[in-house]
């Protein structure tokens, strides 16, 4: 466990009181309605609040809020690459750094980037890179910094949407916007855009079809730029899940366009009417 000597650390051994809360014996029933009133087995995503261009120092920035999940993203660059290798001469480099604020999850996290955050950063990078015209930025790097302010489920999916908006806001040339959507399979039923309670709900023990899935989708080009799943799913469930996630991404598209257009028309001096 890496420690940061520059910060005041808590006691060596401490545990969150939430651990001592009695777990409900049977968890959330897989048939009933969801805690927030959304429907199961429907592409019922949470309403999303998105804004662009909030951080004046950054080249581009975006903020997204879905339920209690809150994320902020800043894009810097293109600037000169620090670490160089042969491929950087022809095309640029996209670096991503995703971090969870220590208070973002029910349990306190560390200020040091853990392996889970590194994993998220890699997946974010892999989902965004196919969409960015990196060949237009030789010798330079574009930095995407993502901060999770509050984690209430589907963090990666919303991080992908948020980062692509920040890139568009920064005026980085892209082949397409990238939208993300998550899904949690629980036995025969699924929930789209799960909350963290739904994500951690392990359900009845015997169920073989149980897992999470996140898809990053390029809506205009009809391409999947990121796919990641864990848990246990049959291949059919996985395929159906990917289709559902694509549908979920399309639901997000009009809103993202609207936000971006507002942001562009505010930043740009709008051309005079003819």
């Amino acid at each position: 466990m890496p420690t940061d000597t520059k910060r005041v650390r808590g006691p060596d051994v401490s545990q969150s009181p939430s651990l001592f809360v009695c777990q409900p014996a049977d968890g959330v029933s897989p048939q009933g309605p969801r805690a927030d009133g959304r429907r199961r087995d429907q592409v019922d995503v949470r309403p999303v609040f998105v804004r662009c261009g909030l951080v004046s120092q950054a080249k581009g920035s975006a903020y997204i809020e879905a339920g209690n999940t809150k994320l902020m993203c800043c894009v810097y660059g293109p600037r000169e690459t620090e670490r160089k290798d042969e491929t950087d001469m022809k095309c640029g480099r996209l670096t991503t750094d995703m971090r969870f604020a220590p208070f973002s999850c029910p349990e306190r996290g560390s200020w040091i980037q853990g392996s889970q955050e590194k994993d998220f950063s890699t997946m974010l990078q892999e989902s965004l890179q196919p969409a960015v015209c990196l060949h237009k930025y030789p010798r330079s790097q574009i930095e995407v910094n993502m901060m999770v302010l509050e984690n209430s489920g589907s963090v990666l999916a919303h991080a992908i949407t948020c980062a692509s908006l920040a890139l568009a806001d920064a005026g980085i040339e892209m082949y397409d916007l990238v939208l993300g959507c998550s899904l949690r399979q629980n036995g025969a039923s699924y929930v789209a855009d799960p909350t963290s309670a739904e994500e951690n709900d392990r359900g009845p023990d015997q169920s073989r079809n149980q897992g999470s899935l996140t898809v990053a989708f390029l809506p205009s080009l009809n391409q999947i730029s990121g796919l990641q799943s864990d848990g246990e799913m049959s291949e059919d469930t996985l395929t159906a899940g990917v289709r559902t996630c694509i549908e979920g991404c399309y639901k997000l598209y009009p809103l993202v366009q609207q936000v971006l257009s507002r942001c562009v028309s505010r930043a740009a001096c709008a051309p005079p009417p003819r």
Partner: protein, 219 residues
């Protein structure tokens, strides 16, 4: 203030097009987003902020569409954002840079501007001894051409390789030192292609002086 300047730029643009009546310039009110299809590749020529995919031109930026047509040729289609352009030093571009350090073989510079656009982040560049001037290359001495702190106009020769930074050249009459300070701190006046003079002490210092073109001057 910013707004006023932009508006000013715009009237200049309009004026420009009035002068050259044959240039048509249409800007649509419609916004386009990255990935959206603009038109077939047969109808337009690619400008900036667009890319080609399967015979169609798509937007690669969120911005407004500009169609520019000259004479009978196909119009050029671009997507622009009102905010400053995303520019990177490219081969052949004229850049404004500041000398940061010199040694007998080369001068190191920071690239500040590409054309007339300021860069948000500074890129490093190198002017090698043999790229300082076009003639008598073997007699060039870096310390007689540049000093740290000089503002230099240069042209990008290549993007360099893994080890080196951008390679720049000043081997043209129009390129070289444009602003230099003397030892007493005053801005020097160019007196020949190779000398500048301090207005306070009248001391002469050697530089590779640029013959600044009117078109490079900014009001």
């Amino acid at each position: 203030m910013q707004q006023a300047r932009r508006a000013g730029d715009h009237t200049n643009m309009v004026f420009h097009f009035l002068l050259h009546g044959h240039i048509m310039h249409t800007t649509s009110w419609f916004l386009f987003f990255p990935g959206e299809k603009l038109c077939s590749a047969e109808d337009c020529v690619l400008g900036t902020g667009v890319y080609l995919r399967h015979g169609y031109i798509h937007s690669s930026l969120a911005g407004y569409v500009v169609r520019k047509s000259e004479g009978k040729e196909l119009p050029m289609i671009s997507v622009v954002r009102g905010t400053e352009l995303q520019l990177l030093p490219d081969v052949g571009a004229i850049v404004t840079c500041k000398v940061t350090s010199i040694n007998p073989r080369f001068a190191k510079v920071h690239i500040l501007k590409v054309g007339s656009t300021s860069l948000k982040d500074h890129f490093k560049g190198t002017i090698r001894k043999e790229d300082v001037r076009a003639t008598e290359k073997d007699k060039v001495e870096i310390y007689k051409s540049f000093r740290p702190g000089d503002i230099v106009l240069a042209k990008v020769m290549s993007l360099g390789n893994v080890e080196s930074s951008y390679l720049l050249t000043t081997a043209e009459n129009e390129l070289g030192v444009v602003v230099a300070h003397s030892e007493s701190g005053a801005v020097m006046v160019p007196i020949s292609w190779s000398e500048m003079q301090c207005p306070l002490t009248y001391a002469k210092e050697l530089r590779k002086v640029a013959r600044v073109q009117a078109k490079h001057l900014e009001a």
